[in-house]
Amino acid sequence: MSIDVIDVHKEYSGTKVLNGISLSVKTGQLVALLGPSGCGKTTLLRIIAGLEHPDSGTVLRDGIDLRTQRPGERKIGFVFQHYALFRHLSVFENIAFGLRARPKSIRPTEEQIREKVNSLLELIQLDWISKRYPDQLSGGQRQRVALARVLAVSPQVLLLDEPFGALDAKVRVELRHWLRERHKDLGVTTIFVTHDQDEAMDVSDRIVIINKGYIEQEGEPDNLYANPANFFVCDFLGTVNTLEFNGKKLYVRPHEITLSATPGGLEATVTAIRTAGQMVQVALVCNGSPITAAISHADHERLALKNGQTIYATPTVQREFPL
């Protein structure tokens, strides 16, 4: 199922949160809405779900205008940032909630509900805690129960609000790989909101970068990283150095700088070296401003860098942005 957001505007008591957002997500895609906090990405998600009304513009699902449908009719599953599990219901009843809430004519039998819930509990590998209550679960478990609760009603679109935001780092990486796999199996069109560029890069097919209620750029993760349209995108997706080189202002990532002991390029002084990691991070001062270069361990050994040493830096790309 595809989702089309068409020119959506939203304002809260005078503050413009969304300024004409248009976006289309194709069936089966996994799209990340990426942006700093307060950029309007959660509001956009809530508008798609029907929890907020846009001031103008509309949202289509497979060409159907969703404005005519109530939140419960949109066949959209929404996972809240803090999961919003029903704390007075057991894990089993949480997952069964959507099935039990159906009108009598299309409500599954008790037997069918039990089967469906049990198969979802297996999917999230939590069948052993079906009788527990939400506050007896860890963050990662709650997250998976929230997902199962939404999947129980077979949504055609899945919306996730900062799905990994409340988890600790290790669980976060595990869960996002798990989610990626589940998305591959289920093929449900999925939109998730995040402020973490690593997460967006790691999980999604496509990233939409939002800032101050506008879409700055959208595209595949690799393409965005390599060809950012402007300084905001370039800066948001990773570290970037601003260099004056041959009279031009260049925006260069740390690994796009080569260092050499022979004169040429920009003269710089080494101020710090950090060797822990896959690349060696070298902090330099060049024309009075700090820059960072990332070089391989092999290069680091060959150059035998020391603090205070003078070195010559050359950018390997000529990335410019119109001011």
Binding site: I76, G77, A84, F86, R87, A101
Partner: protein, 282 residues
């Protein structure tokens, strides 16, 4: 070897101080609560249990008890429904006059019940326009059951709403949104999400308003007209008996009111224990 003497940290109370404080508290409760209570019971039974029962079986007494129970039975559920609806409305919509409504809701607490009774008489009495009009159409409000009911509802109005407001402003709102997205209708959301969240508060406030409805004196006294065997509620009947120097009868009636008080208290304690167990379980 030197003997180590364990010292008590400065913050710990000295044992004698603890005992003194407890003794003082017990004494206060004894003098102010238990003693009068016991004297009521002793007085009530001073002429023997058979007289006690006869006094309770007098027709005026039975009318008074029934009237009080009837008033509570109508006023309390009405207040519960009104309280839930009002608070639901205040928390789920952007009412501009929220503060004003809250202030209005405090009125029954802050105004003397006697004034409330007088207001009702001035509004609905025979000589008032509205009261006169009602009278012409055969509805007597003041010095009759409707007036008593209005007064009772008025003085117990805030209990449920005040108790529920902070609970329903709580953080379960996202749970409601989640339920809505899963296709649940408002009744299911109320039963499964909202009610479990507020049920103990609701029960407490119902018990409180029940106790107030049964024991209310001031406002009811003004609108009742003290027609014995007709518009006298239990508290009014006690006063009437006392004024007639029928001390034994007055005390017998008082034991009934006290009994109702004890029952409400017991329900509250049981509910509190249950609530504790509930929150331990989850």
């Amino acid at each position: 070897m030197k003997k180590v003497r364990p010292f008590s940290p400065n913050t710990a109370d000295a044992p004698w101080l603890k005992s003194c404080l407890i003794a003082f508290a017990v004494l206060v409760v004894l003098v102010i609560v238990v003693l009068p209570f016991a004297s009521v019971i002793v007085q009530a039974f001073s002429e023997g249990p058979s007289i006690y029962l006869t006094l309770l079986r007098s027709s005026d007494m039975q009318v008074a008890v029934l009237l009080s129970l009837k008033l509570a039975a109508i006023a309390v559920p009405l207040n519960a429904i009104f309280g839930i609806l009002l608070v639901w409305g205040m928390t789920h919509t952007q009412l501009p006059c929220r503060r004003f409504i809250m202030a209005l809701l405090d009125l029954p607490f802050s105004v003397s019940p006697v004034v409330v009774g007088l207001l009702f008489i001035m509004l609905l009495g025979k000589n008032a326009p509205l009261g006169g009009w009602l009278e012409e159409h055969g509805v007597q409000v003041i010095f009759a059951f409707p007036g008593l009911l209005l007064a009772t509802i008025f003085v117990t109005l805030p209990f449920v709403a005040r108790e529920l407001l902070p609970l329903m402003e709580g953080q379960y709102r996202q749970e409601e949104e989640a339920a809505r997205l899963l296709g649940a209708g408002w009744w299911r959301i109320f039963l499964k999400i909202t009610l479990p969240e507020i049920k103990w508060g609701l029960l407490f406030s119902i018990i409180l308003s029940l106790a107030r409805a049964l024991g209310e004196y001031g406002a009811v006294a003004v609108v009742s007209g003290n027609i014995r065997g007709k518009t006298n509620t239990l508290p009014l009947h006690i006063e009437a008996l006392f004024n007639d120097y029928e001390l034994t009868a007055a005390n017998a009636a008082a034991t009934l009111l006290a009994l109702l008080g004890v029952i409400t208290l017991t329900v509250r304690i049981v509910a509190e224990l249950k609530k504790k167990r509930d929150s331990n379980e989850h």
